[in-house]
Symmetry: C2
Subunit: 232 residues, 2 copies
């Protein structure tokens, strides 16, 4: 509702990107709930621009599956498909493996610095018990590893999966507020070491184990919820 627009002056091509980035973050941080309707005119008023650039941003978001648009009728934030979470987890685990392995193979020195940066940001956020930052920096950490692997096809799919994962982890931490495992930080450190040592097999193995640990933990929560739903 409250909008902090300091500059009414906007550069020519920047409006779309701004709306896109902001909406994307709000969706991934669950600030806008899945299923919420998205109103073009409302957004146009909020950002003080015409509907045209708003629409372009929405088309992009729809292209990444973050919003769904019914023809001639409402557009809304995509729901999380709990029924088919296993397909998400399958893809996530495989991409963790592949990207970590490729990073061990193809990284350059400067990549390690970037990865370490996010690693430290994550550790800091964990100490501060800051969910949102933890989730976002964790995603950034693994995205940086994928970038170091230098396969844009894998990177883009992995980014999409990490995005979707941000929403799911968000739900997870809303249920388990006091759960902040140092373990993940240690695993991250081990992954970095394997990448730096160019040990493909170890990187692959660690990536797989790390992914499966996260998946197992999240699945535990949702299976509990499933049982709850059935009980109702």
């Amino acid at each position: 509702m409250t909008e902090t627009d300091s500059l009414p002056e906007r550069k020519r091509g920047s409006g779309v990107k701004m709306v896109y980035d902001l909406l994307r973050d709000e969706i991934l941080d669950l600030k806008i709930a899945p299923g919420s309707p998205i109103d073009e005119v409302q957004l146009a008023e909020r950002f003080k621009m015409s509907r045209t650039p708003i629409r372009e941003a929405l088309v992009r978001l729809a292209g990444e599956g973050l919003i769904e648009t019914l023809p001639n009728r409402s557009t809304m934030v995509s729901n999380i498909d709990f029924m088919n979470l296993h397909t998400f987890f399958d893809a996530l685990v495989l991409m963790y493996r592949v990207t970590t392995r490729l990073a061990a193979q193809s990284h350059r020195p400067e990549d390690i610095a970037i990865i370490r940066g996010f690693h430290e940001d994550y550790a800091t956020a964990l100490k501060a018990r800051d969910h949102l930052t933890m989730i976002a920096t964790n995603a950034a950490f693994h995205a940086a590893i994928a970038e170091a692997g230098r396969n844009p096809y894998f990177t883009s799919l992995f980014r999409r999966l990490l995005d979707e994962g941000r929403r799911i982890l968000q739900l997870y931490y809303q249920s388990y507020e006091e759960h902040f495992p140092q373990r993940f930080v240690d695993e991250h450190a081990a992954i970095i070491a394997a990448i730096e040592a160019r040990d493909l097999e170890e990187a692959d193995r660690l990536g797989k184990a790390h992914a499966e640990a996260i998946v197992a933990q999240v699945q535990k929560l949702f299976s509990r919820n499933d049982r709850l739903d059935i009980a109702l």
Copy 2:
């Protein structure tokens, strides 16, 4: 240039999809060369609609990497990145494996019928020595297998790779006009059999072998071209 628009009457939401589909096919069939500029007003005239829906179609195509758009300046058909073809092949081979394996695991009877349909279309096109149809039905065949695997994340990446592959195969067949291997038809048949038998390992193995055969063949061509470039 010549446009066959029989109906000047268009339904409300159909314009964007029409432009999108047509442009997409023209790009993938190399009817528009990589690097060609795309002019919005020209398209608007050609399809007899305003620039707005044209633009939406272009944004979609850009989202899939089929066109590239320089801010405030021209937009053009994406070039094929020959320098990094190996990343494409890596991703392609892995997705061939994964989707074929998942199809063996998760397919339903009705999927087989669809897959067989494209299989036969491919065989027909091969007999007719019709490049364009061969390439398109081959992509459709493997996309159908991916659909039977029922993992939308893998399917969407694989679709993108198959699309890009259409352009590359197009180049390939432009060089080797008389090369129409029956072998691929046989391999397709074997893949269908493995899927139907729900033999995951065999499906995986065949998918990998099939992919690597295609990759090897294409690489042979391009490595020859590479040498040529160096010789010049």
